[in-house]
């Protein structure tokens, strides 16, 4: 074959390989979603799934009410801790943080994002569970809050940096003190990015399992007291998957589907919010 033809052949081959890889890259999510929906939907539609806690073997029915409330409460409390603090740190970084202290904070935040999720569980266990001698939802919330913090603070800093400097200068020129410029002009302008960051962090936290294993501990009963051990959807999926009872395995799939729907809708919400703010 002549040289040009070889080159063209190679070019076409590479293009084909790239196309193949693109197709392969899409397969996992499709297969995953397919199975989660097909195997999870029956459980989701079973009466009592949303309204009952799990029943012991021998008592028919049961659901994941304890886990739904648990996930909502644990993530909710974690967000109450992480969002204000994360936003404040983000504000610090963008407004006062162009120095060594700021760089240290950014470094720590990067380190935290890369940590294995089990490390946050260990953190929650040693800092809260061992000191209070109690497994509790609050220890899980603390672990998740630390996990969420870097995500929120990075998103806040990015969003604030994107606000044009002109806006700040205009506020200052009008005589407003710096803190008012930040709080009343810059932050509202960056709100889209901040809220998105918070929502994405919450979605991630809702799906985490390892930090909950030795903090929230799990609870088959519906529990709202944050000082008590609590169940969560991620725990239900993990533990039921490893159980031999078919009805519990079905609940695992259904809880997984619920988690995916929850996470996906929060992601879509965040995106829609950004688009609305940008208009």
């Amino acid at each position: 074959m002549s040289r040009p033809l070889v080159r063209i052949f190679v070019d076409r081959l590479v293009a084909a390989l790239i196309a193949l890889c693109v197709v392969v890259a899409v397969i996992p999510i499709l297969v995953l979603l397919l199975f989660v929906v097909v195997k999870g939907l029956p459980g989701l539609l079973t009466p009592g799934f949303f309204t009952d806690p799990p029943h012991p073997q021998g008592v028919p029915g049961g659901g994941v009410l304890n886990a739904i409330i648990g996930t909502l409460e644990i993530v909710g409390v974690a967000s109450l801790m992480a969002v204000p603090i994360g936003a404040l740190i983000g504000i610090f970084l963008s407004e006062y943080g162009r120095n060594q202290v700021g760089d240290t904070v950014r470094f720590i935040s990067d380190v935290l994002t890369g940590l294995p999720s089990i490390a946050f569980g260990i953190f929650g266990y040693t800092v809260v569970v061992l000191t209070t001698h109690h497994f509790s939802a609050i220890s899980a919330s603390v672990a998740l809050a630390v996990l969420m913090l870097p995500v929120i603070l990075r998103a806040t800093e990015s969003a604030l940096t994107l606000v044009p400097q002109a806006l700040r200068e205009a506020g200052l020129a009008l005589g407003a003190p710096r803190w008012r410029v930040t709080l009343e002009i810059v932050v509202p302008a960056a709100l889209g990015g901040i809220v998105t960051g918070a929502l994405l962090a919450m979605a991630r936290a809702a799906g985490e399992t390892a930090p909950l294993l030795f903090t929230a501990f799990g609870n088959d009963l519906v529990q709202t007291n944050p000082l008590q051990p609590m169940g969560a959807l991620a725990l239900t999926v993990f533990r039921n998957a490893l159980s031999p009872y078919p009805n519990l395995q079905d609940q695992a799939w259904a809880a997984a589907l619920l988690l995916v729907l929850l996470v996906a809708s929060v992601n879509i919400l965040a995106r829609a919010y950004v688009r609305r703010i940008q208009r």
Partner: protein, 368 residues
Amino acid sequence: MKRILVAVSVAAGVLLAACGGNTTAVTNPSTGGPTMPIPPQAALIGAGATFPKPFYDAATYAYNLKFSQVSINYQGVGSGAGIQQLTKKTVDFGASDVPLKPSEAAAIGGSDKVVQIATTLGTESLAYNLQGISGGQLKLTPDTIAGIFLGTIKKWNDPALKTDNGSLNLPDQDIRVVHRSDGSGTTYIFTDYLSTVSADWASKVGTGKSVSWPVGDGASGNGGVASRITQTPGAIGYVELAYVLQTKMMQAALKNHDGNFVIPSAAGATAAANRFIGTSPSQFSIVDAPGNDSAPISGYSWIMLYKDQSDKTKGTALVDFLYWLVTDGQQYAVNLHYAKLPSRMASYDIFVLKDVSSGRSALLSVSS
């Protein structure tokens, strides 16, 4: 007028006397048996063995229906974890198929700091997953079990297995051993049995909640092992009977001490237990029991709690619950194929529960 006043005050006095004290009693209509103490409001946390978990789940559910002021959250995280969390005081009671060993007792501050009660009696099966061979058909002896778990018997059609199972068509398939990956009392009972019947096992591996398994994959909890066996063709593992029967797994007939092949059952567990009259936390092994019908891999399961309860209300609720568990609560165990606690063990438990106190006052007030 005066007579009415006297009558009212006498009635009030009787009422007050009846309602006084921190435990009032309710006669149990179903059994007509010992009166159950009414517990104060409490949320209790327990952790530990998966061996008795089906029973504990049913019992805590029933107890909560009966006394809605008490909720009990039990997590089956394995006997080892149960003891550890009790030591760290993050749970109110720990559950283990094996009472505290000396090192664990030392970590907790001495064996006199805890009360250990036997709450149920169960037995372990060897469950397997083989095509074309139904439950109860496979016969296993102490030697073949040891061989399989030591890795010397690697395939299902090994001659050693064929000797006892001549009529069966054992396939030319690898034996996939499944064991526990977590610290497990079920493992302890199983390895205790193997160490008793196989000198090879005793010297090479030994007894313990966690051992160095020569072969096999690890799964978490009795449930995890059961699940792994059901999903893996050619698998075999040791699982508590309740799990096997509830999920309709195939289990082997086991050769007991007397040479009979028995299918593990609650009755077999009772037969084994009755061979050991002096059971206590320091002498608890009932494996390889003599007797025609004894199930060879049987054991009690225990709950441990601190003798001195720092929280009086919780402590009272706890002992009230445990009292119910070893008396009326046993009916839930029977439904799930555990054996009923022999009455001598129940008596021992109640006797020991009376030692639990908060500060100076004993918490359990029952007549018997």
